[in-house]
């Protein structure tokens, strides 16, 4: 099964015999996509908690839960990809310190810990109150979640706020490390001319912020609509501005990277040129750059600069955000798959078509992308998403 699935569907020019296999396929496309959404969603929360962007208050809590739901699934694609998933823990227990990949377990765990703690402190008042209100198994559950504490004194709430600020503050560099690091996993592979650039962690990080903010906006519109609740347009306007801001920098860096390669035109550029104007032309230039970058770029710029009506923003904001989400997914595809399409022979490239039903196929990818939404739904039963839900404020 494995060799059929991970094998290129065709070759052009001379490809090294072992390069006819695309070893990192859809699962490794999803892995940076999911961690990126996690890092970006956390940034939204921190904009409120650390940088005091008051307009983002409606999203402050939800974005943490959103980040956590995706973080819970971040290791799934990795496990699906490993040839020997049963040995995955040895990366964590007996790591090779010189390997970029070996750091993931530590960075991931540390980040998950900070995120879980922050969610706990933000929801502590709610959890304590629910514990007092409920009986039976619900009471037991809230006892666990509130760590059996019922201290809601002014002094302890003040301390809570301090801890939240602290966690949100250290969470920002940690989110940056989490995703900058994922970029480095690719950026550190010197044998691959598409990956080996010091800009790779920066581009990954910026696209992470963009995908996280876009994901939050889409989820906000969707969930509020489903729940029949009003949409805070001031909050949407502010998020859209941040989305545009991050996307300006992200898209600029993405283009600068290609431009620098082309301008310096080293021996590697020849290979990259063959790739970008060959097998990647449609997925990179047509879809990632022209359709899914330029159009949302203009849309976001328009709604950020001009004073558009709420009704127009209600259409443009989710549409542009969905496009940005797809742009980042395609960017991951073009980097991860694209990088492997060039043979290290520098004389040829391969094609790759993912299949629907295989170990790392399209169907499973969709399951993995739906799973965080299910986790989010379940979490919503315990941790109310919105500040206008019936719960106490912190």
């Amino acid at each position: 099964m494995h060799e059929i699935l991970a094998t290129a569907s065709g070759a052009l020019g001379y490809v090294f015999p072992n390069d006819l296999h695309v070893h990192w396929s859809l699962m490794i496309v999803l892995y940076p996509y999911i961690t990126g959404i996690v890092a970006g969603a956390f940034i939204v929360s921190s904009l409120y908690h650390v940088f005091h962007i008051k307009a983002l208050k409606p999203l402050a809590k939800f974005s943490l839960l959103f980040a956590f739901a995706f973080l819970a699934c971040a290791t799934l694609p990795l496990m699906m990809h490993l040839g020997q998933p049963g040995r995955a823990m040895s990366m964590f227990l007996t790591p090779n310190p010189s390997s970029a990949m070996a750091g993931f377990g530590y960075i991931y765990t540390a980040y998950a810990f900070v995120l879980a703690l922050e969610i706990f402190f933000i929801y502590r008042v709610h959890l304590v109150k629910r514990r007092q209100e409920t009986t039976g198994w619900q009471h037991a559950m809230y006892t666990v979640f509130s760590m059996a504490s019922d201290n809601l004194s002014e002094r302890s709430l003040k301390l809570d706020r301090k801890i939240i600020s602290f966690l949100a503050a250290i969470g920002i560099p940690m989110a940056c490390v989490l995703h900058g690091y994922v970029g480095f996993i690719f950026g550190g592979v010197k044998a691959n001319p598409l990956w080996a650039t010091p800009l790779m962690p920066v581009i990954f990080l910026l696209s992470a912020c963009v995908s996280g903010i876009a994901g939050i906006i889409v989820a906000y519109f969707l969930l509020r609509k489903i729940a029949g609740k009003s949409i805070d347009m001031d909050c949407v306007r502010t998020s859209i501005k941040f989305l545009w801001g991050f996307f300006i920098v992200d898209f600029t860096f993405e283009m600068l990277e290609i431009f620098s390669h082309g301008y310096m035109a080293t021996a590697h550029w020849h290979t990259l040129h063959e790739l970008l104007w060959g097998p990647l032309f449609n997925s990179y230039w047509v879809w990632q750059v022209m359709i899914l970058s330029v159009i949302p770029f203009l849309l976001l710029g328009y709604v950020s600069i001009r004073k558009v009506s709420d009704s127009l923003l209600r259409i443009i904001a989710p549409v542009a955000s969905v496009m940005i989400l797809l742009q980042v997914l395609l960017m991951r595809w073009n980097v991860v798959i694209g990088g492997q399409l060039m043979s290290k022979s520098q004389r040829g490239s391969v094609d790759f078509q993912p299949h629907w039903f295989e170990k790392e196929g399209i169907f499973l990818s969709m399951v993995i992308m739906v799973l965080p939404i299910i986790i989010l739904y379940v979490m919503g039963k315990v941790f109310p998403f919105w500040h206008d839900d019936n719960q106490s404020e912190v």
Binding site: E3, Y14, L20, L82
Partner: protein, 268 residues
Amino acid sequence: MEEITKIKKEIDLDRRGFIKKVLSGAIGGSLLLVMPATAREIAEQIPGMKEQTDLFIADKKFAFVVDITGCIGCGSCCIADKNEYQVPDGHYRTWVERYIIDDHDEVYVDSPNGGLDGYTEPRDDIKNPIRDTFFAPKLCNMCENPSCVQVCPVGATFRTEDGFILVDDKRCVGCSYCVQACPYSVRFINPVKHTAEKCTWCYHRVRQGMLPACVNVCPVHARKFGDLNDKSSEVYKLLHEPHVISVLKPDMGNKPSLHYLGLRREVI
């Protein structure tokens, strides 16, 4: 009449003798199968290996030299390698590339089935007159700065004290990071074991004083293996005398221990 009887007797005798011999051969042969065999004495192809008793080979620095000008593209090395390791189809621990350069400086490279079937048919898609042809065998470069060892998250790929890069398939997690990192594409994921695999320069044979399987079978001595600390070895002489000799992708900084005699700039 008497003559005929004599001949018949002789034939009978022969027949009896023949059957006797077959029987004793069969019995003797089957006895060999059931009797415990004593250690086979193997001729030492690498001098000084019999005395090696430590875990790692002491005082030796091995190098591999491939003679581009010598290879005839017969594919014997690839067959020997596939036999030695039962390499799954479509994956290659070693392969041989065919280079054809026409008088317009167009370079044609191919390696159908990794050169396993030998190059018995000429290419028929070359329009211009051919100015040069040669073969380039490829295998693990046994780098001094191996990218695969650097990136392996669990240390399953490691460099032994005697300079060999090996893969511990009991430890490998099958993440393919080493496959991505190797600039020479000598690695693959074994579809049966789901772990990384590559050429080992036949470490198990070298430990026994035998040459790597591919070196052993090469009919034109285009693959050479030996100890650089032994000044009388062929590889020492090749690397210390004024020969046209180089390594692949030197700009990668991996410092390969695999050298190419008569390496051409067309070979990547």
